[in-house]
C-alpha cells in the first residue's frame, strides 16, 4: 500500500523508518490533544491566564504562526500574479505550510475562547468596527482558499490519480488557481494587517496604541510588511530543513537564493518602517495619551534591550546578510539569517502580546508576569506536532517539489555556480 502511494522515481525512506519518525510526533499530538481537551471540558481555569493576562501563549502562537504562514499567499502571489516562475519550485510546499499554520491557528483559537460553541456569533452578529471580526472573517475564508489550493496537490497523488473524475476535478481546479492566488493575496493582506490592528487600536493600552491613517493604525501595515518579509524566509528555512532531513536535493540553489533576496529586501523595508513608527510613537503617540515612553521599559525584564533586539539584532542584521550576495551564497549564512528573521517577527508578536498585557496602566497597579501552564504548553506543542505530521505525510505521498525529480536525474546540477543575473518579475527587475 505504502509503496503504491509514493510517486514514481521519488525514492522515500522505508516504511519502518517513516513510522519511527512519526511515533514521537504522534505521541506529542496525543498529549497535546489531551491538554486541549482538559481546557475545553474543565474550562480555561486550566490555563495560567488571568484577568490581567487575558491573552497568553496561545495568542502569541497564533500571531507568529500566521505570520510565518504568510509564505503561502506571498509565494502564490509572486508565482501566479507576478509570474516569478522560479518560485513555482516551492509553491506546493508553501501551500502545505500555509494550510498547516492556518488550520493550527484556528484550532488553537477555538480552545482559547471561553465559549467555542458561540464562535459562529461573529459571523451572525458581526461588529464591523472590530479588528477581530475582520481577522475572523479573513482567516476562515483564507483557510478555505488554502484547502482548495491544497486539494489538487492531494489529488495528484499516484493512487488518487487513478480515479478519472478526480483527475477532471483537479484539472478544473487548476484553471481556478489564478483566482485563488488573487483571492488569497487579498484576504491575507487584510487579516495580516488586522492582526496588527488588533493591538494598534487599543487606545486603552498606550504601549500598543498607534496612530495611522483612516481606520488602520500603523501596526496594520507593519504586520503586513513583516509577514511578507518572513514568509519567504520561513519557506527557505523549511525547504532547507526538509532536504537536510530527507537527505535529498529538492530545489535548485537559485530558488533559495531568490527567496533569501526577496526576504532581505522586504525585511529592510520593514526595519525602516518599524524604526520610523517607533520614533513617532515614543515622541508623539505615547506622551499624547499621558504615558512617557521610558516607563514601559522601567520594569524588568522588559528593558530597552528588547527594542534593540527586535529592530537591530533580529531585523537589521538578517536583512543585511540577506542583501549581501556573497554572504547569501553561503548556505550557513543564508539559513541562519532566515532563522533570525523568523525569530525577529516572533519576538515582535511576543512583545505586542505579552509586554502589552504585563505593563500596568493605572498608577497604583502592578507589573504582572505569567508562565503558561502545562495544559497551555501541551496545546501549543500539539499544533507543532500536527504541522510536522501533516507535512511529513504530504512530503512522502505527494509531490511537493517539482524540481526534485530533475535534480535527481542530473546530479551535476548543483555543480554549476549561481550566476548573478537579475531575476525578472514580469517586466520589472527585482
Amino acid at each position: 500500500m505504502d509503496r503504491q502511494l509514493i510517486a514514481r522515481r521519488l525514492p522515500r525512506c522505508p516504511a519502518r523508518q517513516f513510522v519511527l519518525w512519526l511515533l514521537p510526533w504522534t505521541a506529542l499530538l496525543a498529549f497535546g490533544l489531551y491538554a486541549a481537551g482538559l481546557c475545553l471540558v474543565k474550562g480555561l481555569n486550566q490555563t495560567n491566564m488571568d484577568n490581567r493576562f487575558a491573552f497568553g501563549l496561545w495568542i502569541f502562537l497564533d500571531l507568529t504562526v500566521i505570520a510565518l504562514g504568510a509564505g503561502a499567499f506571498f509565494t502564490g502571489f509572486l508565482v501566479y500574479i507576478l509570474k516569478l516562475k522560479e518560485l513555482s519550485a516551492v509553491i506546493y510546499s508553501a501551500v502545505v505550510i500555509g494550510f498547516v499554520c492556518y488550520s493550527g491557528a484556528v484550532a488553537v483559537l477555538l480552545v482559547d475562547v471561553g465559549q467555542p460553541l458561540r464562535a459562529w456569533f461573529t459571523f451572525w452578529y458581526p461588529n464591523v468596527h472590530s479588528m477581530l471580526t475582520e481577522v475572523t472573517f479573513c482567516i476562515t475564508c483564507y483557510l478555505t482558499v488554502l484547502f482548495i489550493e491544497y486539494l489538487p496537490i492531494i489529488l495528484k497523488n499516484r493512487k488518487l490519480r487513478q480515479v478519472p473524475s478526480f483527475l477532471v476535478f483537479e484539472f478544473q481546479l487548476h484553471k481556478l488557481i489564478y483566482v485563488l492566488a488573487g483571492a488569497g493575496t487579498f484576504l491575507s493582506f487584510f487579516h495580516q494587517g488586522s492582526l496588527g490592528g488588533l493591538y494598534g487600536v487599543l487606545r486603552g493600552r498606550p504601549f500598543a496604541f498607534r496612530e495611522g491613517f483612516a481606520i488602520w493604525p500603523s501596526t496594520f501595515f507593519l504586520f503586513i510588511i513583516s509577514a511578507v518579509a518572513v514568509g519567504p524566509a520561513f519557506i527557505l528555512l523549511t525547504t532547507w530543513l526538509v532536504s537536510k532531513i530527507s537527505q535529498r536535493r529538492l530545489v535548485k540553489p537559485q530558488v533559495l537564493d531568490l527567496l533569501g533576496r526577496i526576504s532581505g529586501l522586504l525585511l529592510s523595508v520593514y526595519v525602516l518602517a518599524k524604526t520610523v513608527d517607533t520614533l513617532i510613537w515614543i515622541n508623539r503617540t505615547s506622551p499624547g495619551s499621558g504615558f512617557p515612553a521610558w516607563q514601559y521599559y522601567s520594569w524588568n525584564p522588559f528593558g530597552t534591550w528588547i527594542l534593540f533586539a527586535e529592530i537591530v539584532v533580529f531585523g537589521l542584521i538578517p536583512a543585511l546578510i540577506l542583501l549581501i550576495p556573497r554572504l547569501r551564497r553561503r548556505t550557513g549564512w543564508l539559513v541562519s539569517a532566515a532563522l533570525m528573521a523568523c525569530l525577529g517577527v516572533a519576538l515582535n508578536r511576543f512583545v505586542l502580546t505579552v509586554q502589552t498585557l504585563a505593563l500596568p496602566t493605572l498608577g497604583f497597579d502592578q507589573f504582572v508576569s505569567y508562565r503558561p501552564s502545562w495544559q497551555e504548553t501541551g496545546t501549543f506543542l500539539a499544533v507543532v506536532a500536527y504541522g510536522v505530521l501533516v507535512y511529513s505525510f504530504s512530503f512522502r505521498y505527494l509531490q511537493l517539489f517539482p524540481q526534485e525529480r530533475a535534480l535527481e536525474a542530473a546530479p551535476a546540477a548543483e555543480a554549476e555556480p549561481v550566476e548573478e543575473e537579475p531575476v525578472l518579475v514580469g517586466r520589472y527587475s527585482l
Binding site: L117, R118, W120, F121
Partner: protein
C-alpha cells in the same frame, strides 16, 4: 450487480449534500449555542414575590439594624436602614446557614449525661463570650442554682463610650474604623474627633487616623504610663522613647493634645490598667466614658443570680466542667488561657457552636447551635450607645433540626423552670415604662408607656429597638488600676513579635472578595512581614511557611508588606492561630 464501496461513498456524499439543505445542521449549531446558556452548573435563582423584613445583626456586639430583602421566605440580600449601612460581614450574614464548615449534629444526650456524672467537688462554669444578654441572666440563674456554679465573662464588661462628644481619641490599637461599632455612628462621630492611633502595624484605622504612632509592638503600656506621667506634670522617663520607638517630642505633643483638646477619650483593643488610668487623669469618666444602666430585668432573676466573674480572676485548675457559649462570638480567649483554669485530671469541656473552628477543636462535646439569621436572642447594647437598649435578633429563616438553644440546655441542666426568658425580660422592660420603642417598617418611635405589651413584643420581633431614656447620670466608675493585671510579657528567644489581627468568625465564603480575590485584608492563615524581615526568614511573597511559637507551629502563607515594621509578624488570626500565639507572643517564621 452487488454494491461496491464506491457506491456507498456516492450515497453518503449525496446525503451529506442533501443534509445541508435541511434545517438540521443549522438547528444544531443554534441549539448547542443556546445550550451553553443553561448547561448544568448554572444555578437558577428562585422567583417569587419580594418583600422586606427587619431584624438586628447578631454577628458582632454592635448589633446593627437589618433590612432583609426576601424572595418568598428566603432572604436574598441584607442591607442596613437608610443612613445606617452594614459592614461587609453583616451584608452576607444570610449566607451563614449554608456555610460549608457548619455543624448541625451533636451528641446532646451523651453531653448531658457526662455533665451529670461530673466530680461534685470541682466547680462547673459557663463561659459566656458575649455577656449582657438575656441568655447571660439565664446562665447566672442556672449557675446560682448549681453547687460550685460559676458564671464567667471573658473580661470586665467595659463601660459605655461616648464617641460623639469626644474631641480627641487616643486609641491603643482599637480597630476603631474597622467594625468596632456601628459603622454609621462611628463615621458620623469621626467628622468631629481627632484620632491618634497607637499601633505597630499600618491597619486601615492607622492609615486613616489623623496621627499614626507606629509603636514598637508590646510597649503600649510603657507609652500609656509615660503619657500618664506627663499628665501628672512629672518628667518623661528617659528610656520611653527608646523603648517605644517614638521620639520624645512626639510623645509630649500627643500628651498635650489629649490634655488640651478635650473632652478626650482613650480606648484600646484590650483594656489594660494604664489606659483606664489615663481616662481617669483626663477626666473622661462620666463625660466620654461611663457605666451604662442595664435594661430592666425581672427582679425574680436578680435575686437568684450568680455574680459575674472575669475569667482571669478564677483560680487555676479549679474548673471541672466548662460550658462555652460560642453561639454569639465576641472575644476569643486563647486555649492556653482557658486550659490553665481547668482541673488537670480529665476536665469536661462542652461548647455550643456552629462550627469546629473555635473551641470545638478542644472540647469533648460540640453541641450545634443555630446561626444568625436563624437565632432568636437579644443583643447587648453597642459599645458606643450611651443609653441601654433592648433589641432582638429575630430569625429570618428556620434553624435546621437538631440544633440546641444554649440557655435552654443550661436551664434544663440546672432544673430551672423553662420559661420564655426573652418575653419575660421584655415584660419587665414594658413594666418599667421607661424609654421609647422604634419600629423600622414605619420608622416611628413611641414611648413605651403608650404601647400595649403585645404590640411592644411584636415590634421587638420585627427588629424594633427599645432605647432607654437618659436616666440620672450614673457616678463615675471606680477603675482602680491593678484590679486586673497587664498581659504577661512572654520571655522567649524567638526573634519576631506577633501582632494578631482578629478575623471575625464565622464569615460567609463570599468574603473571598476581600480576602482572596483582592488584597484588601490579610486573609485568614496569612502572615504579613516587612521585606527585610522576610528576607532574613528566607521566605518570599506568597510562599508557604511555618509560624512557630512556644506553643507549637502552624502552616501559614506569607505576604510581603513594605508598610510593616521590621521584626514584627502580623497574623490574621483564626482561633487556631490565636491559640498558637496566645495573649502576647514571640514567634519565628521558617520556610517549609
Amino acid at each position: 450487480m452487488q454494491t461496491t464501496r464506491r457506491d456507498l461513498f456516492k450515497f453518503a456524499a449525496g446525503s451529506a449534500a442533501g443534509l445541508v439543505f435541511t434545517p438540521v445542521p443549522w438547528r444544531l449549531i443554534t441549539d448547542t449555542a443556546l445550550w451553553s446558556e443553561n448547561w448544568p452548573g448554572i444555578p437558577r435563582p428562585a422567583r417569587g414575590e419580594i418583600h422586606t423584613r427587619f431584624t438586628n445583626c447578631a454577628l458582632c456586639p454592635a448589633g446593627c439594624a437589618v433590612r432583609a430583602r426576601c424572595v418568598g421566605p428566603q432572604p436574598v440580600a441584607l442591607t442596613g436602614l437608610p443612613g445606617q449601612p452594614l459592614c461587609a460581614f453583616g451584608l452576607v450574614g444570610h449566607h451563614l446557614p449554608y456555610h460549608p464548615g457548619r455543624v448541625t449534629q451533636g451528641a446532646l444526650e451523651q453531653a448531658a449525661a457526662a455533665i451529670a456524672h461530673r466530680d461534685p467537688k470541682a466547680s462547673i462554669a459557663v463561659l459566656d463570650l458575649r455577656p449582657g444578654r438575656t441568655a447571660s441572666w439565664t446562665y447566672r440563674r442556672a449557675m446560682a442554682a448549681i453547687p460550685h456554679g460559676l458564671y464567667l465573662a471573658p473580661k470586665r464588661i467595659s463601660p459605655a463610650v461616648n464617641l460623639a462628644d469626644a474631641k480627641t481619641v487616643l486609641s491603643f490599637g482599637a480597630p476603631l474604623l474597622e467594625g468596632w461599632g456601628t459603622p454609621a455612628s462611628v463615621f458620623a462621630a469621626r467628622e468631629r474627633f481627632r484620632l491618634v492611633q497607637v499601633e505597630p502595624v499600618p491597619s486601615p484605622t492607622a492609615a486613616l487616623a489623623d496621627l499614626w504612632l507606629p509603636i514598637r509592638a508590646g510597649s503600649e503600656t510603657a507609652l500609656a504610663r509615660a503619657i500618664a506621667q506627663l499628665l501628672r506634670k512629672q518628667a518623661l522617663p528617659p528610656e520611653v522613647a527608646a523603648l517605644t520607638g517614638i521620639p520624645e517630642e512626639q510623645i509630649v505633643s500627643v500628651a498635650r493634645q489629649v490634655a488640651e483638646n478635650g473632652p478626650a477619650l482613650v480606648v484600646a483593643a484590650e483594656e489594660f490598667p494604664a489606659m483606664s488610668e489615663l481616662n481617669r487623669l483626663l477626666g473622661s469618666l462620666g463625660r466620654t466614658v461611663f457605666p451604662r444602666r442595664e435594661a430592666p430585668v425581672p427582679e425574680s432573676w436578680t435575686r437568684a443570680a450568680a455574680p459575674v466573674t472575669t475569667f482571669a480572676s478564677v483560680a487555676d485548675h479549679s474548673i471541672g466542667v466548662l460550658l462555652i457559649d460560642e453561639s454569639a462570638p465576641d472575644t476569643y480567649l486563647p486555649w492556653s488561657v482557658v486550659q490553665k483554669k481547668l482541673v488537670p485530671y480529665d476536665p469536661l469541656v462542652v461548647t455550643f457552636a456552629s462550627s469546629r473552628a473555635g473551641y470545638g477543636r478542644h472540647a469533648q462535646y460540640l453541641l450545634p447551635t443555630a446561626v444568625y439569621p436563624e437565632i432568636t436572642s437579644d443583643l447587648p447594647p453597642a459599645l458606643h450607645s450611651a443609653a441601654a437598649t433592648f433589641r432582638l435578633a429575630a430569625p429570618l429563616v428556620a434553624p435546621p433540626a437538631g440544633v440546641v438553644d444554649p440557655p435552654t440546655f443550661v436551664a434544663r441542666m440546672a432544673r430551672l423552670p423553662l420559661t420564655p426568658a426573652l418575653r419575660e425580660r421584655a415584660g419587665a422592660i414594658h413594666q418599667a415604662g421607661r424609654g421609647t420603642v422604634s419600629t423600622w417598617r414605619d420608622g416611628k418611635s413611641v414611648p413605651v408607656r403608650q404601647v400595649k405589651f403585645d404590640d411592644f413584643w411584636s415590634a421587638l420581633n420585627e427588629g424594633g429597638c427599645w432605647i432607654d431614656s437618659q436616666g440620672p447620670q450614673a457616678p463615675a466608675p471606680q477603675m482602680e488600676s491593678g484590679s486586673f493585671a497587664d498581659p504577661p510579657v512572654e520571655q522567649s528567644s524567638l526573634p519576631l513579635v506577633v501582632v494578631t489581627t482578629a478575623v471575625p468568625q464565622p464569615f460567609s465564603p463570599l468574603l473571598s472578595k476581600l480576602y482572596g480575590e483582592s488584597n484588601l485584608r490579610l486573609s485568614p492563615g496569612r502572615i504579613a512581614l516587612h521585606p527585610e524581615t522576610a528576607r532574613q526568614c528566607g521566605v518570599t511573597d506568597g510562599a508557604r511557611a511555618a509560624l512557630e511559637t512556644i506553643r507549637g507551629r502552624a502552616a501559614v502563607q506569607v505576604s510581603i508588606d513594605s508598610g510593616m515594621p521590621p521584626g514584627v509578624v502580623r497574623v490574621a488570626a483564626t482561633p487556631a492561630l490565636l491559640d498558637l500565639c496566645g495573649p502576647s507572643a514571640r514567634a519565628k517564621v521558617v520556610r517549609v
